[in-house]
Amino acid sequence: MAYLIFSITLMLVYIGLAQLLHIQFGMLGIPNFGIVGFWGLGMYSVGVLNVQWDFSFIPALILTLLLVALVANGLGRLILKLEGQAMLCATLAFSAIVALLVITEKWLTEGVVGLGTIKYPFDAGAMTEPLYFLILLLIVVGIQLFINKLHVSRLGTLIFSIRDNEELAASLGKDTVKIKLELFTLTCALMGLLGALSAPLNQFLTPNMLVPSVTFAVWIALILGGKEHSMGAVLGVFITFGLFDLLIESYLPVAPEYAVMVPNFKLFLYGAVLVAVLMYRPRGVLGHSAAGARQELP
């Protein structure tokens, strides 16, 4: 039971990350391949503040949000004017830098030894984990409501027009650079928040949590669910994480000698599913967004 709650809480983290990627890529057209960088920065920042410098959880969380927002804003100023592939490479490079610094800066992060233990911000006995799950559920629902509202708002229409033709939107007097930077900063900071909340969930942080597979898992989920649909992120994570990680990895009866291969088989299937979706249904399972501007196939 405890493991199940841990798993579905972790699933909520992935849903949140995929929702934020939907805003960044599905709506704004920013291909953020540095998700694990922002998420990991948030997680390690809370860990360092909490364990090394004895901050209690809430102040650590607030400082972390500020830090990630600051970093995202700085990176955004450098890269948001670049063309898509360049942004993709730059964000991927950013996440690699975060992972490397976590290993090298041992005085801060304990390096490969690992950093811990990060306790839950409250102690409610046996109810601690379920309560924590509820907090994350509230956050995810909150992000979803924000997305739904964004899709039908004037700002949403402007965002879609930036994605489809930024020059045109700019020529109509909209400050497209500012809008992109603000939304990028906000969404990346929220990725950092999800990372910060993942810290007590994982309790013990090691650098091998910051592998690019985290980024790709989020991308695969969003592409599978439908990057432009407001519910694509949720459905995508339910299919990938829910089906593969929760059901197959935890509950499928597998002989112990094959058990070590299950994660590799999962990653193989992730790749195969992603290829199949992009080849045969490039808009994902849900396809178009019900609301907002529609983009014609190229």
């Binding site: 890269i79 670049l82 592939q85 360049a86 490397l100």
Partner: protein
């Protein structure tokens, strides 16, 4: 002074895999206009093919390099026909193509893990001899790798800049219709480029970690820096890829000598973001 001497020497010795990977990668990137992360698997499979011929079939160490490189080229062509050509035909945009290439990369990498396991595979290598001159040393394998890389680089260079092949690729990359009107067969050129790229990637895998072992993640570990080098050098420039790889190798060696190797990566990655920003994001 010793720092400069040592970093130049070590840098050149260790840059071999990167030089090959970047030269092959940049050709494919230039022709099709998207970052092909599945190229990393050409590197990995090159090493595994060499290990297969060496360990399973008992080929001599140097002899197993040849079929390994050819098979890596064939694999690269196969991924083109199975995945990328249909996608390019449908006009899928570059970001989606990159995601597709990551999917292909996952399939190939973890397919390999399912097939042969995740452990390192060690190659029967010839006995190691150590040479030293002017106060710096290298093993016989490192020197052989360097010579082989020089041969491959010279050949690739010759094909691209002296046979007119480079012109053909440039024509096709910039204006497909015009290239076809002037009698270029786009099919043949694409196959050649993907094959040459795959061969270079496979050789890069063989020479990685000079040489000794094959690991499923070796391609992924090299691909990001390969992409960086190609972009900084100017996409499509085989010459530039050669020069920038060597510079990157020397920089890595210099930082490693005075500090930790991981800082070298941090510096390379940060300067990469800086270069992108400075250029305003124009890749080609």
């Amino acid at each position: 002074m010793w720092l400069i001497r040592d970093s130049v020497f070590i840098g050149i010795l260790q840059a071999s895999p990167l030089i090959l990977a970047a030269m092959g990668f940049t050709l494919i990137f230039y022709l099709n206009g998207f970052i092909n992360f599945a190229y990393g698997e050409s590197i990995t499979y090159g090493a595994y093919f060499a290990a297969m011929f060496n360990v399973m079939f008992g080929f001599g160490f140097y002899l197993s390099i040849v079929p390994a490189a050819l098979l890596a080229g064939a694999l690269s062509v196969a991924t083109y026909f199975l995945f990328f050509q249909p996608a390019l035909k449908r006009g899928v945009r570059s970001t989606e193509l990159i995601i597709l290439s990551i999917g292909v990369s996952f399939m190939l990498r973890y397919g390999l893990v399912l097939f042969v396991g995740a452990e390192n595979i060690y190659v029967d290598e010839p006995p190691i001899a150590y040479f030293s001159f002017l106060g710096v040393g290298a093993t016989n394998l490192q020197l052989v790798a360097l010579v082989l890389v020089l041969v491959v680089v010279f050949n690739l260079y010759w094909v691209v800049y002296r046979t007119g092949f480079g012109e053909v690729v440039r024509g096709l990359a910039n204006n497909k219709e015009l290239a076809m009107v002037s009698g270029i067969n786009p099919h043949k050129v694409s196959v050649s480029v993907w094959f040459l790229g795959g061969v270079a990637g496979g050789l890069s895998g063989v020479f990685s970690g000079v040489f000794a072992l094959a690991n499923p993640l070796m391609g992924w570990n090299l691909i990001l820096i390969t992409v960086m080098v190609s972009i900084v050098a100017g996409v499509g420039s085989v010459k530039g890829a050669l020069v920038v790889s060597i510079i990157a190798g020397m920089l890595t060696a210099a930082v490693t000598l005075v500090s930790k190797p991981l800082y070298a990566e941090v510096i390379l990655l940060s300067s990469f973001i800086g270069v992108l920003w400075y250029r305003g994001g124009r890749l080609r």
